[in-house]
Symmetry: C2
Subunit: 500 residues, 2 copies
């Protein structure tokens, strides 16, 4: 645990002073942010600082930080930018060493903002303070209190939180750091830490990456970039990190209007797309411009890192009860450079025994309409794993079996007892056994179905940490990313072993 | 209404004979299919044909079609393929002219299947019968009884149905024809008809397209292709259709294993991707290999066709309360060839008056954290529309305002009456007025937010027929597609006008 790193107390403060929150939740962002700090189960003291109020959201409020009875680990400032220097000085006098400055109105607004930035930097230097921001939403730390389920430390205003996991995000945009939490929750993208870092006036992305490098709770890193200030250092550090912990990046600049947009957003000057592409290539960073892909790639790598399940090669086996989705996934896998090899005669005849005669065993295996879901979801993946003919498997045909049953029963038809057991039977047969096999063979199995994530059965897969996809666009792409990362990782492993 | 077309009675039968359904809903597909026919509110007589049962799902069953007291408009067959010829002959003797043959086991299984296909074709010719399939799921017709809400005629086994709309799908895969219905329902992809056409032994995709061309209920067409049998005719017909009704296509073949997959799926021999790309280009068909894009493109064109809202040019205005998503959408719009022009000085100063001084009015307009949602969602789009400086608008920042309020209230905070009105106020200010403006200026406004479609507020946009996007990947792509289609349409409009 990187307890000695200066970021540690920002992510895990024992006490916090909050400037700029009141009791009116909807009109001030600071009030919503304090609300989230409280709701997450903050363990220590909370000191709201307010010029007029004596109580803020149930906590005793103080007029001035100097009145607070102890020196808080962290000060959280969401105030008009013009008062920041004064408050900062008072925090310095109080002995506070760590801060989050949420306020906007710095370099992103032009000359005035730049002067203010300089002033703020000088004050921080004088008092030996480190701060996140300004112009950010602050931090989410799902590991703040690992003993307590659903607890977290969240200074952002979005109230939804993802499940705790091994993914850490560092973002030059607050939106990418927290607006995505609803989708993370639905799709099972398990986030441990998510940091909105704003203008990086005092702490820059290199510092956060260095922290993640040391942090055992972080096994996958997501970054959203509008600029990189220390380019050479960034390349060096990223090169060190990626063989152990994959990095997925979005770069938002690189086109004319996008540059205009990011300049007014964080004041950054992005840079040519080609430079960023070269950096990503050299460092082994996986990049995308799609939010959906970003979340799916993080999730894919999160599953892989959790259980050390990587691809040993590029051969994909596809099992489906639908010809159309099977064909589409086959095509995209091939277009991305993966192989979908025709199975050996032996393997074909083994499968052929278990499927209708109208079905196909070539690869894809298309079982057509067949209600033997155990075959589809477990037996065939197992046979493929044991065959040694594939390095990864995609299975199409996950429905919410309880919803199917319920709907049929509501039609007034009799459902016999055996059928009512089907859901339990599938769960027992699939989840734990498949997970064991995946680990044994280091061979990922991706499950796919046509229903949205809101359905209960998709939640079941997620809760068992088994990759499940709603619709069939993402699986091939994610396998390709995982294959590339497996290769990247191997290259360094081999190199390391040879040089020892 | 193409009442004289031979497909009309297949889509709108007054009476139907169903072969292969019983009372065991979960183990036979035919039973689930009959269940859906009943559930949809079939208006006429249903005659189950079963060798043993006297009652099937509440309907009197007949041992033989010849025993049925009238000649049904349509026979629906889901039977083992070997019995198909005999049953087909009996249907012929009964005088039935229209059939759907769901059964697989034809050319897709090889030589035996090919012989069977020939036999079936000869019988159909003898009795002057036309049939959908074989090896298909049949049809969904949401317009079967337009007077009755949520009624439909659905022979497919998937029980979810989309909202009725102006999109019609014709698919060589049953999955693409119906597994997508859950997402259609969630995303507001409003489908009128969806046809799973299988091996096209008797009726091929050209016939269905010809029907859609004539059908006033169809304004957008989606096709899933594994092959085109009558290539030249296809090109001719598609060229006629696209200036009036856009076509979005998925072609699933074109790679080695994909060809293997489709051969075992429908027995088709696909063909080189380049040929298909050339066909799509020549005919103005919009193509994709992504299911997500397919549904989004259909939805985009559906909105456009409904209210005749097309793009008059390629200039996009972006309004956001989040810099990150704004930058990402700006970048993807530019990468796709659209323009995100810097606003004129006049327009900038008009906007600047209404936003915080830390915000930006350049394009994107980034209002930063601002709780004046009326500005964001209505006033700014209106100003941009009136300015004449843009041809389309993307607005980021749709939350479920009721969910936000509820969550805040549950935190124990007081929410005053004015705040409680906010949701109603936004609804009144945005939905109808924005729709009117869109029509007035023929200028689409796409709304975007970070929450999944399951949230109520996203349903509200959908029910008002206003494009709403969950996450910010699709809007730029959809605008590009709509721009291209608007151009395509104009080209033909101009040509037509000039030649008259």
């Amino acid at each position: 645990m990187p307890k000695d790193h200066f970021l540690y107390k920002i992510l895990n403060p024992d006490s916090i002073a909050v400037f700029g929150a009141n009791n009116n939740l909807l009109t001030t962002m600071g009030s919503m942010q304090l609300r989230n700090i409280i709701t997450g189960g903050f363990k220590g003291e909370i000191y709201p600082i307010h010029p007029k109020l004596t109580q803020v959201q149930g906590y005793k409020a103080y007029q001035n930080i100097l009145d607070v009875p102890e020196t808080p680990d962290l000060a959280f400032l969401i105030l008009p930018p013009r008062v920041i220097p004064e408050v900062l000085k008072e925090c310095g006098e109080k002995g506070i060493k760590r801060l989050i400055i949420t306020s906007g109105g710095f370099r992103e607004i032009g000359e005035d903002g730049k002067q203010l930035s300089q002033e703020v930097n000088q004050i921080a230097e004088t008092y030996d303070m480190r701060f996140v921001g300004p112009n950010c939403l602050g931090i989410y730390n799902g590991w703040y209190d690992p003993e307590v389920k659903d607890s977290y430390f969240n200074t952002m205003w979005i109230y939804e939180t993802p499940e705790r996991g091994n993914i850490s995000i560092v973002s030059q945009s607050g939106t990418i750091a927290c607006h995505v939490f609803w989708h993370c929750q639905d799709w099972g993208v398990k986030i441990g830490k998510s940091l909105s870092i704003g203008n990086e006036l005092n702490i820059d992305i290199l510092d956060y990456l260095e922290y993640f490098r040391q942090d055992p709770q972080t096994q996958v890193i997501g970054i959203y970039l509008e600029e990189i200030k220390r380019g050479r250092k960034f390349v060096e550090l990223a090169k060190e990190i990626t063989p152990e912990k994959p990095i997925v990046a979005i770069y938002a600049g690189g086109t004319e209007a996008a540059e205009r947009s990011i300049k007014s957003h964080t004041g950054a000057i992005g840079g040519n797309q080609k430079i960023y592409d070269a950096v990503f290539k050299e460092t082994g960073i996986i990049s995308t411009t799609s939010m959906t892909d970003f979340l799916y790639y993080l999730r894919t790598l999160s599953f892989a890192q959790n259980d050390k399940i990587y691809l040993n090669g590029d051969k994909v086996g596809i099992i489906t009860d639908s010809g159309g989705s099977g064909s589409m996934m086959t095509k995209t896998a091939e277009q991305l450079g993966l192989k979908v090899p025709r199975f050996s005669k032996e393997l074909q005849s083994e499968i052929q025994k278990k499927i209708p005669y109208t079905a196909s065993a070539l690869n894809p295996i298309d079982v057509t309409f067949d209600t033997d879901f155990i075959n589809l979801l477990k037996s065939f993946p197992k046979i493929l794993m044991e065959s040694g003919e594939v390095d990864a498997i995609i299975v199409y045909g996950v429905f919410d079996f309880d919803d199917v049953l319920k709907t049929m029963e509501e039609s007034g038809m009799k459902i016999n007892d055996e059928m009512k057991q089907i859901s339990d039977m599938i769960q027992r047969a699939v989840f734990k056994p498949i997970k064991r096999l995946m680990k044994k063979y280091s061979l990922p199995v991706f499950y796919v179905g046509p229903m949205p994530y809101r359905f209960e059965w998709y939640r079941k897969f997620i809760s068992h940490d088994i990759p499940i996809f709603s619709l069939w666009d993402a699986p091939s792409k994610c396998l390709k990313i995982l294959y590339d990362y497996s290769q990247h990782r191997n290259k360094f492993k081999t190199f390391k072993n040879n040089s020892v």
